[in-house]
Symmetry: C3
Subunit: 214 residues, 3 copies
């Protein structure tokens, strides 16, 4: 049951991250190939770095083709939709629905990938808090970092909001909670923590302190 | 015979990629050290990522010094030539010959590195189409991606033409063909496919579809 | 004794590199999370790439938490100091002392990390000059490369001065010298070579040749 839940969330996250990669590629004027590759990179890049870090080779993305196929399918659909959409004026309402959908799926993806990353760490014999949390966060945000680097942008995760903090909070929970409760329940709670922080941050426009450059 | 052919193409590719790395470094105003390192990165970076991906460590570039030495030699020659060349006006004809030469050697390098990458995958026991093709393409284009990232440019391969598509087509061929024919012949055909797509794309100015930003 | 010396230098280097990462993050307008991550990346990114290259997994940064904790502590202090400092005018003298201190600690860090990287290579059975020197240099300068990539800047090490050359010189020494003398002494000499080149380069404003773009 827990495994099915994580798998479904992983698939949703893959689609959401592939959409965000495709959109970034389109913004940057890349061609169809660039769109496909940036979708794949965003959706699977975090897991790729996670697998390199623990020496689980070849990385999962090449062992289970479903993530790659799903990324390409998503990118292809985004490409077709944008081609078609550009022919007529956007309704404000469609855009709003689109942005809400992207926020929700992206949050689910961040949560699923983060929990996934920590679980990959817990399987290792020599895991500690630092490694497990790193694996969780890098699986959650690593694809977005590569996406921005390849698009020639400053990585979003370093600049804005508490995106990575949500991932961090969930990763710590996913590492600590299994000592005190059933692992299925702890996964659900960690998952919920990420969604909650992300939602509250977006809703209340939370921001972390920074040095005012004034 | 096939092995000798691939080795010779690898050496040509190393020189071509080292030239392209050196030229990029010069364009960006880097000093001699930057030129040497960018030449090395462009020529060997793809193979480095390939070896990390399959856990073939330490990477080939450190096991067989010929690629490193050849990269440095090439970068040194480019540096001297440009120092000397800048003293007198460029003839248009020299520039044309130079660009043609670079296109041809770069194509040979892309083909050799791609086929090489797929072969590295075929040696692994748990290779599938996705892993083998990734290894081929990343060996072919990975050095150029790192070159552009280090030079502060948007990676060329994501923006322009069908460069990576040639690598992709050849990688698929190099994975599939050995099932139906002698591996030496299949390598030659895959090699030829890459050269052909690259040549046709450059000649007919092929381009992949993109979303018009108009 | 030698081990203690290297460890102390490593800790100093970690602090220096974490400061440089924090400062870069502040310059780029990142928030507290970005500052912490960029400090960690700068201080431990080079060792991370080194460990991936030789398959020493999980990377040291996750096996010994002291480097991570020290990076975060340093970043937190930098953040507080800058928050506080911005309230009153900087005295020119404070700024000068600050820059001198940063140069000295950064040099110590570069030296310690470089020697460390070569030593990690010497432990491997199949090390040669190329691998050992790469491990030394990437441990020394890799964190700075990642820092600049994440900050959206062209990597400093490719653009300016003989920073990497100091690392390179020390790395070659750390590989070659142990054949002729006690390994403790060779480490000290290699360490000194890096400090010396770096100091002389900064003092005499040494620069490597480049192609004049005039």
């Amino acid at each position: 049951m827990t495994k099915d839940f994580i798998l479904i969330m992983d698939l949703i996250g893959t689609v959401a991250f592939a959409i965000s990669g495709s959109m970034t590629a389109v913004e940057q004027g890349m061609d169809l190939f660039g769109i496909l590759i940036l979708a794949l990179t965003t959706a699977t890049g975090g897991g790729f770095i996670r697998d390199l870090t623990i020496g689980s080779l070849p990385p999962v993305v090449f062992r289970n083709p479903v993530y790659m196929i799903l990324s390409f399918l998503t990118a292809g659909i985004v490409f077709l939709v944008l081609k078609f959409q550009s022919l007529r004026p956007h309704s404000e309402r469609v855009r709003l629905v689109y942005e809400k959908t992207l926020l929700v799926t992206d949050s689910l993806g961040l949560a699923a990938f983060t929990v996934d990353g920590v679980c990959a760490g817990l399987v290792q014999t020599d895991t500690n808090l630092f490694l497990a949390v790193f694996l969780g966060v890098i699986t959650g945000v690593g694809g977005g970092i590569l996406r921005d680097l390849f698009a020639g942008k400053k990585p979003y995760v370093f600049v804005k909001h508490v995106y990575a903090l949500a991932s961090l909070g969930g990763a710590v929970a996913a590492y600590v909670l299994p000592r005190y409760m059933d692992s299925g329940i702890s996964i659900m709670i960690s998952f919920g923590i990420i969604i909650l922080i992300r939602y509250l941050a977006a809703h209340f426009r939370w921001d972390l302190p920074r040095i005012s450059s004034g």
